[in-house]
Amino acid sequence: MAERILKNIRIGGLKNAVKGNDYRKEATISYCILIGGYILLQILTAAGLVGHNLQGQFVPICVYISLAVSLNLVVGISGELSLGHAGFMAVGAFSGILMSRILLQSMSFEPAILIISMLFGALMASVAGFIIGIPILGLRGDYLAIVTLAFGEIIRNFMNVLYFGFVDGKLRFAFNHTIEGIEDTDRIITGAIGATGTKTMASFTWGLLLCLFTVFIVLNLKNSKQGRAIMSIRDNRIAGESIGLDVRKYKLMAFVVSAALAGMAGCLFGLNYSTLVPVKFNFNTSVLVLVFVVLGGVGNIWGGIIAATLLTILPETFRQFADYRMLTYAIVLILVMIGTYNPAIKSRMNALFAKFKPKKKKDDGKVKKKKSGKEEA
């Protein structure tokens, strides 16, 4: 058959068309922010400009960044509202702590212990995500949100009745009651008191590595066939089915990968403190991470990174105004939401930005002309 391009086809104006996501740009910006921020904070610390309190927040900031990025996989890329992210963080934290204590009995090389613990935390969290995800991903919208909330609370509740410890060098486990004959130093997890006697191994550098890894995985996934499947189901479930995409499979995939990454972050969080209570992983933490995601722009990876950083640093910096700190936070949160989502304000902002737009378009035109010139040549 002869080569035939359909004749008479007019696409129509592309004036109103919007360019799609540029993955390379997104990745570059994200990595630059992470590495730049790390270097900046290291320099400021070396110069003695960073207070002790804030230094203590470095690892949590990294953890929150990677939580925000991983939650973005569910909220932004998969388009489902999850209110139980802290649950996976908890699973990762406690299983990671457990693994680190077991490894410490036979090993002393900390980086290896840390990595193995984090992988174990990720594994356990992904198992939890899988178990939770299978039944619930058939639910839609707000119902899914409430069930993830419920699961987050269930996980936290279970942590309250879990007991782990060594008796005579052997790992013992108990449910809903303390382990008999255990000495204080051999306790690993003690119900509502949480994990005690953890050897802290986390550092800012590990935090950075965690962030880079999380961003790497999420961005790569986004720009792969699996990511495209996940996003297309978000955009139009019925059309996704009509081209043969298994909706549940891909929703579950996003959920499990997100859970695994949250577990990894949770593990680093756990290994940052010598004691850790399960209450830390309540609904408020899930909400906090969700706020990072939404304020950073749903689906926007680097936006989430910036939001997580600022919203952890700022309240910490204003600790002297402790009383008004959270109040201001709440008011700012409401105002920002109204400012960014209210249709009237949004259109006014767009009109403001439009003033700068004509310049851009001219540039675009030039580039296109150059390109077409090349083609002709």
Binding site: Y143, A145, V147, V161, N176, I331, I334, I338, P343
Partner: protein
């Protein structure tokens, strides 16, 4: 006998959940938003009633009335200032704003009244518990009044929604916002009214709950709020009888699992029941089926 005692306290707790759940379910029905600040309105209602009785020397019932009025105004204000600008922008934005409002209320309470728990005086302080079956069964006046209040509120609300013009307007708006507007219904007014009723009921629920569990803190409303929300979803969010059934079942499950299984795990069991119900009936016990047109 212990069984009966538990059943009654379960019903009582469930009634509190049901009254709170009404606020969630009506608001969700009409504006399709998860109003996470609702639990904190309960807390504000509790503090108001507390102040009126402690510092103003008002009678408990009068204080309740004042608290209801204040919460009603609060509910309308929250809707007007925080939620209305975001109407129709998708559930996520409104959800986060609701969470912001929740933080705001909690921190305002923290600023004004401090973090120390206050001991709430029961509304039924003077009344004596009823003893039955040779003193084996004790029924507190709190239980009786809470259950009664729940039944009365449920009947009144059902009548209101089905018989009055304003109630019918509310139903029309929940069904189809745009069409209701075209029929000349004032949508803003209907939504405000819904928030007003929900918040007024939250004050009642707060006082009833604090009468039975008298610890009052800025975070008092959070957990009952989440559970009542669960109850609303359990019964089918958007449905008034669903909220009542969901609330009662949840209260009973909670008390029974506390009594017979584990205190620590009672919440987990409650939430697990919700999940099981949603797996079997994805829109709750009395919820309507949603289908998408292809």
């Amino acid at each position: 006998m212990i069984f009966l005692t538990n059943l009654i306290s379960g019903l009582s707790l469930g009634s509190v959940y049901a009254i709170i759940a009404l606020g969630y379910t009506m608001v969700y029905g009409i504006s399709k938003m998860l109003n996470f600040a609702h639990g904190d309105v309960i807390m504000i209602g509790g503090y108001m009633s507390f102040i009126m009785t402690m510092y103003m020397g008002l009678n408990g019932w009068l204080a309740l009335l004042v608290a209801m009025v204040i919460c009603t105004i609060l509910g309308i204000t929250i809707e007007r200032l925080a939620y209305r600008p975001l109407r129709g922008t998708g559930s996520l934005a409104v959800l986060i704003t609701a969470i912001g409002v929740s933080y705001f209320l909690q921190n305002i309470a923290l600023l004004i009244w401090g973090a120390n728990p206050k001991m709430f005086t029961s509304l039924f302080n003077g009344m004596k518990p009823i003893h039955a079956m040779d003193g084996q069964l004790t029924i507190t006046p709190e239980s009786i009044f809470t259950i009664l209040a729940n039944i009365i509120i449920m009947i009144l609300l059902t009548l209101f929604v089905s018989k009055t013009k304003a109630g019918k307007a509310m139903r029309a708006v929940s069904e189809d916002n745009g069409a209701a507007q075209l029929m000349g219904i004032n949508v803003n007014q209907s939504i405000s009214l819904t928030f007003a009723i929900g918040s007024g009921l939250a004050a009642v629920a707060g006082v009833l709950m604090l009468s039975a569990y008298p610890v009052l803190m800025p975070t008092t409303g959070a957990m009952p709020g989440i559970k009542a929300f669960t109850a609303a979803v359990f019964g089918g969010i958007g449905s008034i009888p669903g909220a009542m059934i969901g609330g009662l079942i949840l209260g009973i499950i909670e008390i029974f699992s506390r009594a017979y299984i584990s205190t620590e795990l009672s919440d987990a069991i409650v939430f697990a029941c919700l999940i099981i119900v949603l797996l079997v009936k994805p829109t709750g016990l009395l919820g309507k089926k949603i289908s998408e047109k292809v």
